[in-house]
């Protein structure tokens, strides 16, 4: 399974943005980027929602299905053994990609399930499951969970529910008028009662890279656990969970060139070891009687039922592909687009880029509001030109409410994005303004 047909033309050890020639070569690896939409070449600027897949990923999934398919961690026949090996190799590949040990990666269906796994495991510990060992995970009335006002609903609602089930209180770090986290308030909110702090590494609406180090320091000072939503960072930035010193991190396969239906939870080994299971059933047990069961060590303890094998193999191929291109280069390539989007959109009369004034580094993602034009109408106009963007609240209603809008339009880039596509978005937004204001 080669990582990339063209990996030899890429210099992954450099930090330079990808050259135009390199991006053109990369784009040949992505069959969907050759399609036409509404009579125009596709300009895909919705990678923040889901990324496109290179041949290496598509081929990995197909090769597995056609030559190796078998259920893993059961059965003794040749295919079962080989499938198990490749499944565990995929785990090791993803672990290396984010600086973890392979025993610290739990496969999930998506990042949402990964966050719910943590929340439900803590919930179960709070009910006494996991015994004495799980004591440090227990939440009681008076305990506090801290999250932020900018979270994707997936990193908010599981904590709302966990608080409701355990009697703990959910506290929310507010945003300033620009949309930046109020770190001064965070320092007041995170205190002796705080047991867990959950926040996003990169905002899926603002594109800004949050100051993880400062938030982790606040949590560490009071002994709280840290959950990092890395869905928008793992695909776009070099990521090292140990360097960031977080206890948990979640990622989403389909946002990083992989298929849908696969996500991962990173958990610090000593925490995974004391956590009671979330989903229970086959494949996660050692001994079962009709009245009780004992459980396997992590990560298998958290992987009940038949696993998604071809998806893990494909995700590993995606990670190999990204590694071959070089994450520092991808990050540099996209940072330039982020800056261009913010600058170019802000220069258009009537356009407000959400979080434009935040003084933080950002990825290639910008959400914006156009005065008098609803995001759905704007998205429709752009779609007519073959430009795919995200419209709506991007699963972040509290953030939008705080910034005084109900929805926004989001353009998000990836390693295959070109300057021409950014131009197309900027021209398209101006075109939409002219179109919808006609006759007004």
């Amino acid at each position: 399974m080669s990582a990339s047909r063209d990996a030899d033309v890429i210099a992954p050890l450099s930090d330079d943005p990808l050259t135009d020639a390199e991006v053109r070569r990369l784009r040949e690896d992505f069959p969907i980027l050759q399609v036409e939409v509404n009579g125009h070449p596709l300009s895909y600027l919705d990678s923040g929602a889901t990324s496109q897949r290179p041949f290496a990923v598509l081929d990995a999934e197909r090769t597995f299905a056609t030559t190796l398919n078998a259920a893993v961690h059961r059965g003794a026949h040749t295919l079962a053994a080989e499938a198990t090996e490749i499944f565990e190799d995929a785990r090791a590949t993803v672990a290396r990609f984010i600086g973890a040990d392979e025993g610290e990666i739990v496969w999930t269906s998506n990042a949402t399930e990964a966050l719910n796994l943590v929340a439900y495991s803590i919930s179960n510990a709070s009910l006494g499951r996991g015994g004495v060992a799980a004591e440090r995970l227990r939440l009681r009335e008076g305990d506090e969970i801290v999250t932020t006002e900018m979270e994707h609903h997936a990193n908010l609602i599981p904590w709302q529910e966990l608080a409701a089930r355990t009697g703990a209180t959910l506290r929310v770090i507010p945003l300033d008028d620009e949309g930046a986290l109020r770190l001064d308030v965070a320092a007041e909110l995170i205190g002796e009662r705080t047991k867990l702090v959950a926040f996003t590494h990169v905002s899926n609406v603002l594109g800004v890279i949050n100051p993880v180090e400062q938030l982790v320091a606040l949590a560490r000072a009071v002994g709280a656990l840290v959950v990092l939503d890395a869905c928008q960072s793992a695909p776009h930035l070099p990521l090292d969970v140990r360097e960031l010193d977080v206890d948990f991190a979640v990622l989403s396969g389909h946002k990083m060139l992989g298929p849908t239906g696969i996500g991962a939870l990173y958990g610090r080994r000593e925490l995974l070891e004391i956590m009671p299971p979330f989903l229970t059933g086959g494949s996660m047990i050692t001994t079962v009687t009709t009245t009780e069961a004992t459980y396997l060590p992590p990560p298998q303890r958290f992987e009940a039922g038949t696993q998604k094998v071809s998806q893990t193999v494909a995700l590993a191929a995606a990670v190999d592909y990204l590694t071959a291109v070089g994450m520092p280069r991808i990050a540099a390539h996209e940072a330039a687009f982020g800056a261009r989007l913010v600058e170019g959109l802000s220069a258009i009369d009537g356009v407000r880029v959400l979080g434009a004034g935040i003084d933080l580094p950002r990825v290639g993602l910008a959400s914006f509001d156009v005065d008098g034009i609803h995001s759905h109408d704007l998205g429709q106009f752009l779609d007519d030109r073959g430009i795919a963007v995200r419209v709506g609240h991007h699963c972040a209603q509290p953030l939008h409410r705080r910034l005084g809008v109900t929805s926004s339009t989001r353009a998000s880039t990836y390693l295959y994005t070109t300057d021409d596509e950014i131009d197309a978005v900027l021209d398209g937004v101006q075109g939409a303004i002219d179109f919808f204001r006609r006759g007004a």
Binding site: S375, H376, D377, V391, G439, A440
Partner: protein, 144 residues
């Protein structure tokens, strides 16, 4: 006319800019609140009835895309003076056209200016926008 111009006809843009029936009333009336969870668009709509039971006016407030706003406005304009049965026939006819994926043009005789929304039915993702106020009026009538 391009597909896009057909979707966003002048009439629709005019209705979205200066909507008919916008503004809820203080008096008691059958009311419904509907949200489109994918985009957060919402409408609150009241059905005010005349002494003979016919529809005196539809009053509504909400926010959303040009399609949803124009559709609510066109609905308010259409419903005035109709009996409940007459409105229900029109709701059914509009829904059928909207769900037809461009195969059925709205019945202009029955629906009047509402027929300008015909282009929406080719855009499956936008049918919910056009239907939002119509679902609300149906819900309000059922509650009454």
């Amino acid at each position: 006319m391009s597909d896009l111009q057909n979707l966003y006809q002048e009439l629709i843009l005019d209705h979205s800019r200066t909507p008919h029936g916008f503004g809820l009333r203080g008096e008691i009336a059958a009311q419904s609140h509907q949200v489109n969870p994918t985009c957060g668009d919402e409408v609150t709509l009241q059905v005010h009835r005349a002494g003979d039971g016919s529809i005196e006016a539809i009053a509504w407030e909400g926010h959303g895309c040009a399609i949803s706003q124009a559709s609510a406005s066109l609905l308010a304009e259409l419903a005035e003076g109709l009996t409940v049965e007459e409105l229900e026939i029109r709701i059914a006819s509009f829904r059928e056209a909207m769900r037809s994926r461009g195969k059925i043009e709205p019945d202009e005789e029955l629906l009047g200016d509402v027929a300008a929304l015909g282009g929406v039915s080719r855009y499956v993702a936008r049918v919910k926008c056009a239907m939002l106020a119509w679902v609300a009026v149906e819900d309000a009538l059922h509650k009454a």
